[in-house]
Symmetry: C2
Subunit: 302 residues, 2 copies
């Protein structure tokens, strides 16, 4: 099944304890689509400026990603600057130049209407809802959000969540969204808001999926990594592996969801090994399967 | 195989969002021995005061724990007061009355010399080392420590670690001990200090065991719990389940260590359900096995 992802295609200027990079390819939709492209067909809807060259676009098209939905506007591409200290879980934002992204009004090519799965990466909730409504035929909707929207667009976000089947957020976002201190209570509340499944990402501790039908949650590990060179995009990469694996399977069973959790963690573990999407670009499917086996040995008793 | 544990037998006065308890039975050796008693024979070396009644001691002896090593001194028993807010991972200490524990000089009954496993719960490193040297015939030594000793008794702790086979500590302690921000790098350093295996406990995210022989780490989950009523003793209970299961097995294989990680998590998950050791006192082996299966389903793909 093919996936349509809507979200940011951006440039990042980054500093971590392992080095720095200026204006490298980034954005949630970039990480998501590169990651998902190892599993299924991916189409991207986003917006870029004049400074987004054919070489940048080739990073996506070389992986077979359909970029016809990336609008080229006049102006500059969204550019984020951030720095990570010794605690790689927390980025300090240095600047956020929205540029052409500020007036992003997602346009979905007709050729994308047959996408079976839709992923609403972290953009304004109204835009997410707009896109979701423009894709009435999709069979499954995944989504992400962030603290900013939970704080300033809560009502809009709650409307959007009604139409999201699988929500992927992190611990802080889950607690903020529900005003709960317990992740389990937070998960229970969120599962009354629309999503049938909820993936809460715990950073270096892995991720847990909770279900609205009352079945037991499932925990996937993260790889214990000695040196995280750049955590940027790890969450979007997780989402890409997770949704991509689901798209590659004929049916959405509990077993598929569990394996999707593992593939999400596997893909995220590659991204943080190098800067930006460097590692995803050089990755092979064999390496993915080898690491999947490592994840299994990390958690399975026999 | 039988386990000898040396550590605090104490009273706790606790407040959590779910209620409060005054002067209930607590202490690392108490939680450890109750937990381990579901798997093997346990002997305790500790010290208590006049206020420690035969009813308190019966909580241990009713579970078959050998308490001949608990010294009854004149004075009061170690008494800790603490309060937990909404973040159950952090206790605020209200008071620490060491009382008879201040001059604790562990005395090991001759009858305990045939113990095969020794667990050095969190006491001063010099006392840990003293006990370890008084038990030359033990086959395996497990140990715990805390931030206080890492800060003020580092040299003594490093001496003790040389004689500990399996160290069990939490994230914060591992980072503090090594001045590393990465858990993996912290683990690698600690595994050059003496321990052949290192269990790092991540609280609600489970625990990871690292090995000095270079084999892959292994992660055990914690149960996603909606309401932690009282986290006191969870770490010591984990250690009791972990060491207790090891003691119950004929050989220390990688498979045994992995299963021990699961039993540690299982036992910890019971303790936090109620105040103090209440839940451990009413627990049955069937409940333990049922929860072990739940832990498996929480992490295993098939």
């Amino acid at each position: 099944m093919s996936i349509l992802v809507v979200g940011s295609v951006a440039f990042d200027t980054l500093k971590t304890p392992f080095g720095e990079r200026k204006k490298i390819l980034g954005g949630a939709a970039t990480y998501f689509s590169l990651s998902a492209s190892f599993f299924t067909d991916v189409r991207v809807v986003g917006i870029v400026g004049d400074d987004f060259t054919s070489e940048h676009e080739a990073v996506l098209t070389n992986r077979g990603i359909d970029t016809r939905g990336i609008e080229h506007a006049s102006g500059k591409t969204f550019h984020w600057g951030g720095e990570y200290g010794d605690n790689v879980n927390e980025a300090e934002t240095k600047f956020t130049d929205l540029n052409v992204f500020e007036n992003f009004a997602p346009k979905i090519p007709d050729a994308y209407q047959d996408s079976e799965i839709l992923f609403l990466a972290n953009i304004q909730p109204e835009l997410q809802l707009d896109v979701r409504r423009k894709m009435p035929r999709v069979a499954l909707v995944g989504g992400d959000t962030m603290n900013l929207w939970i704080n300033i667009k809560r009502a809009e976000l709650l409307e959007t969540l009604k139409e999201v089947d699988i929500l992927l957020i992190n611990d802080t976002e889950a607690k903020l969204l529900t005003s709960e201190h317990s992740l389990v209570l937070a998960a229970r509340k969120i599962l009354t808001l629309g999503p049938k499944s909820l993936v809460i990402k715990h950073g270096e501790y892995g991720a847990t999926i909770f279900f609205s039908d009352g079945s037991h949650p499932f925990r996937a590990p993260a790889l214990p990594i000695a040196e995280v060179h750049d955590p940027t995009g790890a969450g979007d990469t997780f989402a890409g592996g997770f949704m991509g694996y689901i798209a590659s399977q004929p049916e959405l069973t509990p077993t598929v969801l569990k394996r999707a959790m593992f593939y999400g963690g596997v893909m995220g573990s590659f991204t943080v090994e190098r800067f930006g999407p460097e590692r995803l670009i050089s990755l092979t499917r064999d390496e993915i399967e080898e690491r999947f086996r490592l994840f299994r040995s990390l958690t399975h008793l026999d």
